[in-house]
C-alpha cells in the first residue's frame, strides 16, 4: 500500500517538475536548453512511478513505538545541535549534543556527561587547534 502512495506522490512531484521546467527559457545558441534534460528525467520518473503504483511491494515492517520515540528524539537533538552550534560555540554545543545522543543510545547519565565533555573538547582541540580548522568557540559568551 505504502508503495502505491509513494508512487502517487512521486508521480505528482515529477509532473510538477516537468511543468516548472517548461518555463525555463532556451539560452541563445544553446542546442539543448535548460529545460530538456530535467523534463526527460521528470518524464522518466513519472512513468516509473506509474509502474510502482501498479506493482507495489508488500509493506515494510513498522517500527516499534519506543524505537520511533528515540528516532524522533535523535532528530530533535540533531536539529537542536545545528541551531545552537553558532550561538553557543562548538565545544559547548558538541558537549551537549554528544551527551544527549549518548543517553539516547543507552548510556547512563554519568557516562553520557563524561562522554559529551570528552568528545566536545577533544574534537575541538583536534580540528580547531591541531588541524587549523576555525570552529566557533563561544560567540554568545565572548561576542
Amino acid at each position: 500500500m505504502i508503495d502505491r502512495i509513494v508512487g502517487a506522490v512521486v508521480f505528482m512531484i515529477s509532473v510538477s517538475a516537468f511543468w516548472v521546467a517548461r518555463g525555463y527559457e532556451a539560452g541563445f545558441g544553446d542546442p539543448l536548453g535548460p529545460a530538456v534534460f530535467p523534463q526527460m528525467v521528470a518524464g522518466g520518473a513519472a512513468i516509473l512511478s506509474l509502474g510502482l503504483m501498479l506493482r507495489p511491494d508488500p509493506d515494510p515492517k513498522a517500527q516499534s513505538r519506543p524505537a520511533m520515540t528515540r528516532q524522533i528524539a535523535t532528530l530533535a537533538v540533531l536539529v537542536g545541535y545545528v541551531l545552537l552550534l553558532e550561538p553557543l560555540g562548538f565545544p559547548l554545543s558538541t558537549t551537549l549534543g554528544t551527551a544527549c545522543l549518548a543517553l539516547l543510545f543507552g548510556a547512563g547519565p554519568a557516562k553520557a556527561g563524561v562522554t559529551g565533555l570528552a568528545v566536545g573538547l577533544s574534537l575541538f582541540v583536534i580540528f580547531d587547534t591541531v588541524l587549523g580548522l576555525p570552529l566557533p568557540f563561544a560567540p554568545a559568551l565572548f561576542g
Binding site: A45, L48, T74, L75, L78, T94, T98, T115, L131
Partner: protein
C-alpha cells in the same frame, strides 16, 4: 614496459613519508570502520572525505588515504562476520556462513587468518588487474564521443540494480530522483536557475558530499534504533592469537578462484563487492562442496567469498577511474571525492594526471601489504574494539560527520540539508529503495547533461546523433538485455508472498 615505468613512477609518489603514514592510518581506520557493525565502507569514506579536506591534504595524498580506508573496510568487514555473526558491511554477509561456525568451534584465529590471506589474495589480484587492464580500457575509451558517454550513463543507471532481484521500478526511480536532484541549481550550460525556489543557498545545487553523508551516515543513525534493537550472542572466543601458517593456506586454491570471479563481477556495471562475494561463494560451493561441509565451517567457504569481495572492490575501481562511471556505492563515493578534488576521472586522467593514477595504484599495493600485516598479528586488537559500546561510537560518528560537513562551507544551511538527506535516506531505506542510484544520479547528472549538450551541438540539435555511433548502439543493446533480465527476475520472484 610502459606500464611498469608508470608504476615505478607511482611508487615514487606513494613512498613519501607523509603518504606512507596516511596509508598506514587509512588501513587501520578502514579495518576498524569495516569491522564495526553498522559502519560500512560508504559511511566510512563519506564521513572522512571532509576530514581529509580539513587536513588540507594534496589531492594525491587524500586519495591515497581514502583508498586505503576503502581497501581496509573490505578487510575489516570479515572480523565481525566471523566473531559476532554480524557482517561488518554488506559484502561480508557471505563470510558469516562458514566463518561464525568455525569461530564457535574454537577456530576463530584460523578463520581470521584464512580470511586475511584470502582478502590479500583477492585484493592483490584485483590491483594487478587494475594495473594492466585499466590503461587498456582508458586507451579504448579515448574513442568515445559525447553520444557514447551519454549511452554509458544510461547504462550505468539502468544496470545499477543489477540482477539482485530488487524491484527494478524502485532502483530506476531512485536514479531518476538523483538526476532530478542534480539539476537543482544553476544550469552550467545556460546559467538558468532551476528548481531553486528563490533560495540563493540552492544556486550551487546540492554538494554531493553533503548529500552522501546525509543519505548514508545520518540515515544509519536513525535506522539504528530499529535494526540493532536486539543484540545477538556475545563474541566468540578468539582462542590462540596466531594461527599456524599451514592452516592459513588451506583455503588458498579457493581464494584464487574467488579472486577471478570477484574481479570480473567488480568490473561489470551494476555488480560490485556484494555480488562478487555471493557468486564466488556459490561457485566454490558447487566446485568443492562434496561432503556437504559448506555452511558448517568449511575454510574454503570463508576463503572464496572474502577473496571475491576484495577482488570485486578492486575491480570496481576500473570503470570508475577509466570511464568516470562507478558501479557500486563505495566507488560512487570515491568518485565524489575525486570530483571534489577537481580530478575528473575518465580516459584522459591516465594521460593528464599520471602521477595521481599511478600513485593511487602503487598505494593500493602498499595498502595490501600493510593490511595483511595489520590483520594477521593485530587481529586481537580489532576484535577487542568490537566490544566498544554503541553509545560511545554512534555520537562520535555523528559529531565527526557534522564537523566535516560544517568545515566545507562553514554554513549551518549545509548541516540542515544533510539532516534533510538523512530523512530522505531513511524513508528510501524503509521503502527498500537503494540509495546508490540516488547518489550516482546526483554525481553524474551534470556530466550526463553536458554530454547530451555536446552531442547535440555536434549534430546541430538533432537527437538522432544519439543512435548513430556503433559504440553507443552496443551499449544500448547491452543495457536493454540487462533490463530485460532484471525485470524478468523481478516478475518471477513476484508470487512469493513471504518475500519482504
Amino acid at each position: 614496459m610502459d606500464i611498469l615505468t608508470s608504476l615505478i613512477g607511482g611508487f615514487a609518489v606513494a613512498v613519501t613519508p607523509l603518504n606512507l603514514a596516511l596509508a598506514v592510518f587509512g588501513c587501520f581506520a578502514g579495518t576498524l570502520i569495516g569491522a564495526l557493525p553498522g559502519l560500512g565502507p560508504v559511511n566510512g569514506v563519506a564521513i572522512l572525505i571532509p576530514v581529509a579536506f580539513a587536513m588540507k591534504l594534496e589531492p594525491g595524498s587524500a586519495l591515497i588515504m581514502l583508498s586505503c580506508i576503502y581497501y581496509g573496510c573490505m578487510y575489516g568487514g570479515r572480523i565481525s562476520s566471523i566473531m559476532l555473526n554480524i557482517p561488518g558491511d554488506e559484502p561480508a554477509i557471505m563470510t558469516t556462513l562458514d566463518g561464525y561456525p568455525m569461530a564457535r568451534r574454537g577456530q576463530a584465529a584460523k578463520a581470521l587468518g584464512i580470511s586475511a590471506v584470502a582478502s590479500f589474495t583477492g585484493a592483490t589480484f584485483a590491483t594487478l588487474g587494475l594495473t594492466f587492464f585499466a590503461p587498456l580500457l582508458a586507451k579504448a575509451a579515448i574513442h568515445f564521443g559525447p553520444a557514447d558517454y551519454f549511452a554509458l550513463y544510461v547504462m550505468a543507471f539502468a544496470t545499477i540494480g543489477g540482477v539482485t532481484g530488487v524491484n527494478p521500478f524502485k532502483t530506476l526511480l531512485a536514479a531518476m530522483l538523483g538526476l532530478l536532484l542534480a539539476s537543482v541549481g544553476l544550469d552550467p550550460g545556460t546559467g538558468t536557475a532551476r528548481f531553486t525556489f528563490g533560495s540563493f543557498h540552492l544556486y550551487d545545487g546540492f554538494d554531493p558530499i553533503v548529500a552522501i553523508v546525509g543519505l548514508f551516515a545520518v540515515s544509519e543513525i536513525i535506522m539504528y534504533f530499529e535494526s540493532h534493537a536486539t543484540s545477538g550472542a556475545g563474541p566468540a572466543k578468539l582462542g590462540r592469537a596466531l594461527p599456524r601458517l599451514r592452516e592459513v593456506f588451506e583455503g588458498f586454491p579457493a581464494a584464487l578462484r574467488g579472486s577471478v570471479i570477484g574481479f570480473i563481477c567488480g568490473v561489470l556495471p551494476g555488480a560490485g563487492a556484494s555480488l562478487g562475494a555471493f557468486v564466488s561463494y556459490s561457485t566454490e560451493k558447487q566446485i568443492s562442496d562434496k561432503k556437504g561441509t559448506f555452511g558448517t565451517g568449511d575454510p574454503r567457504g570463508i576463503a572464496a567469498p572474502e577473496a571475491g569481495n576484495n577482488a570485486a572492490s578492486g575491480g570496481a575501481l576500473i570503470p570508475m577511474l577509466t570511464l568516470g562511471v562507478p558501479g557500486s556505492g563505495t566507488t560512487a563515493v570515491m568518485l565524489a571525492l575525486l570530483v571534489s578534488l577537481n580530478i575528473q576521472p575518465g580516459p584522459l586522467l591516465f594521460e593528464r594526471q599520471p602521477d595521481i593514477v599511478w600513485g593511487l595504484i602503487a598505494a593500493l599495493y602498499l595498502a595490501n601489504v600493510v593490511l595483511l600485516l595489520l590483520n594477521v598479528p593485530m587481529v586481537g586488537l580489532f576484535t577487542r574494539l568490537l566490544s566498544l559500546p554503541q553509545w560511545l561510537l554512534m555520537p562520535v560518528v555523528v559529531m565527526v560527520s557534522f564537523i566535516g560537513i560544517y568545515s566545507i562551507s562553514h554554513s549551518t544551511f549545509d548541516l540542515f540539508v544533510m539532516i534533510g538527506f538523512g530523512l530522505l535516506g531513511y524513508a528510501l531505506r524503509k521503502l527498500e529503495i537503494s540509495l546508490v542510484p540516488v547518489v550516482l544520479g546526483l554525481l553524474l547528472g551534470a556530466d550526463m547533461e553536458n554530454n547530451l549538450r555536446r552531442a547535440l551541438s555536434i549534430s546541430g540539435g538533432d537527437f538522432g546523433i544519439l543512435l548513430q555511433s556503433p559504440i553507443a548502439l552496443v551499449i544500448y543493446g547491452f543495457t536493454a538485455l540487462m533490463l530485460m533480465f532484471s525485470f524478468g527476475i523481478a516478475m518471477r520472484r513476484r508470487p512469493d508472498p513471504l518475500e519482504g
